[in-house]
């Protein structure tokens, strides 16, 4: 059985036609039995009817209309100008991006060159690509020459002959610890050319 408090809360919604049908029936049943709620319902209806009778519109002065249209025209003109500026800039965007990319790539290549790459061991089957690194001297920084484009990795083959400046001064490498201990590296060649696959073949074979 509905209580008066709930009925009172539902009255505005019911009078606005927004109360679900089931609840509206329950409310109507309660109002029919309860004189206090019947009075409350009528009071609420009268108040809402009075509010509904308030003016919904008023005359708009001509100056308001003209002022609004003027502001909107200015706004539209500003939007059109921004759109034109943006279009001009967008036309240059792709070429500018390409130019920026080229600059970044050039700087990156320059930095990599300046870091002094060492000669890389040749890979089997990578014929034709070689990087020759000259040993740094007092006067010259290390150079990397003959690097072919397009290859992601630079491979190199060991030249058969040393560079002329080294051949003219063989005593440069006499004191290097590596050269002094070279005879200890008797298995160097084997270590250098052995792969994991070779090891499996030997164990299986």
């Amino acid at each position: 059985m509905m209580r008066c408090r709930r009925a009172t809360r539902w009255m505005v919604t019911a009078l606005d036609g927004e109360l679900p049908a089931r609840r509206r029936r329950a409310l109507d049943g309660h109002v029919a039995r309860c004189p206090a709620c019947r009075h409350e319902m009528a009071t609420t209806a009268a108040v809402l009817q009075g509010v509904g009778g308030l003016a919904t519109s008023s005359e708009v002065p001509g100056r308001l209309e003209q002022a609004t249209f003027r502001r909107v025209r200015l706004l539209a003109a500003a939007e059109a100008e921004r759109a034109a500026t943006r279009a001009w800039w967008m036309r240059l965007r792709l070429p500018a991006l390409g130019f920026a990319t080229a600059v970044v790539a050039t700087v990156a290549v320059g930095l990599m060159r300046g870091s002094g790459d060492r000669p890389l061991a040749p890979r089997p089957g990578d014929g034709g690509r070689r990087v020759v690194a000259q040993a740094p001297t007092k006067d010259k920084p290390p150079l990397v020459a003959s690097r072919e484009r397009g290859g992601p990795q630079a491979t190199a083959t060991v030249p058969a002959e040393p560079p002329p400046e080294l051949a003219a001064a063989p005593e440069l490498f006499v004191d290097l610890p590596l050269l002094r201990n070279m005879e200890k590296l008797e298995h160097f060649e084997t270590i250098r050319t052995t792969t994991l696959d070779d090891g499996e073949e030997q164990s299986n074979g």
């Binding site: 606005d16 036609g17 009071t43 209806a45 509904g52 308001l64 209309e65 609004t68």
Partner: protein, 225 residues
């Protein structure tokens, strides 16, 4: 003094004629269907494509209602006109955000409500409201008095006019959100769903706002009931 006979059964006319709640259509082609069904949506779509005449038609159709709505939130006629102008400038500026799935009036009143509530919250306005509080024998210190939109014709009598003025004053004293909910629902005829959308709230909250507003009005009109 006009009285309202509370012992009579609730009149059928208390149920307001209201706009049907906006239908939300999920498919992409519903914009065209909505435009076909609602001429305001069609005007707004034309406005989005850059037609100045469509915007002007929308302004002429809705500005009287928006101006009346704004008047009930601000303290002066001049400021009400400024708010109205701001509303339609916002409509134009953000026209591309409008989606035809919702009713144009709902979207318009969302903008209007936000601007009016912002206006109420302005600290300068609190000072102006104090100036507007008329004391006995004092003239209004600034601007022309608000016209009395609830004033009835002379044929309807002074009592009814007094009731209307009292009601208008009580509505003006309501908290802003209650006032907005009541005006949108009862004066502008928006469905609860659309009122909730305009207020950025829920239907349940709208019902609560309306209940509290009505209770306040009933207490204020006790002498007339």
């Amino acid at each position: 003094m006009a009285t309202v006979h509370a012992d009579e059964p609730a009149p059928e006319s208390a149920e307001r004629p209201r706009e049907a709640p906006a239908e939300s259509a999920p498919d992409a082609g519903s914009g065209f269907a909505a435009a076909a069904a609602d001429p305001d949506v069609a005007l707004m779509l034309r406005c989005q494509s850059g037609e100045e005449a469509a915007f002007q038609d929308l302004f002429r159709k809705f500005s009287p209602r928006v101006l009346q709505f704004a008047r009930r939130f601000v303290g002066s006629e001049a400021r009400a006109e400024e708010v109205t102008q701001d509303v339609f400038v916002q409509v134009f500026r953000f026209r591309h955000r409008y989606r035809p799935q919702s009713r144009f009036s709902t979207w318009l009143y969302t903008i209007a409500t936000n601007l009016c509530l912002n206006e109420v919250r302005r600290p300068e306005r609190h000072l102006r409201v104090d100036l507007w509080n008329r004391r006995d024998g004092e003239e209004r210190p600034e601007g022309p008095p608000l016209p009395d939109p609830a004033a009835v014709t002379p044929e309807e009598g002074a009592a009814a006019r007094q009731l209307g003025q009292r009601l208008e004053a009580l509505v003006a004293e309501l908290p802003p959100k209650q006032r907005a909910a009541l005006l949108l629902s009862r004066v502008d005829g928006l469905a609860y769903r659309d009122v909730a959308e305009a207020l950025g709230s829920t239907e349940g909250a709208v019902k609560a706002l309306l209940f509290r507003a009505t209770q306040t009005l009933k207490r204020g009109l006790r002498d007339y009931l």
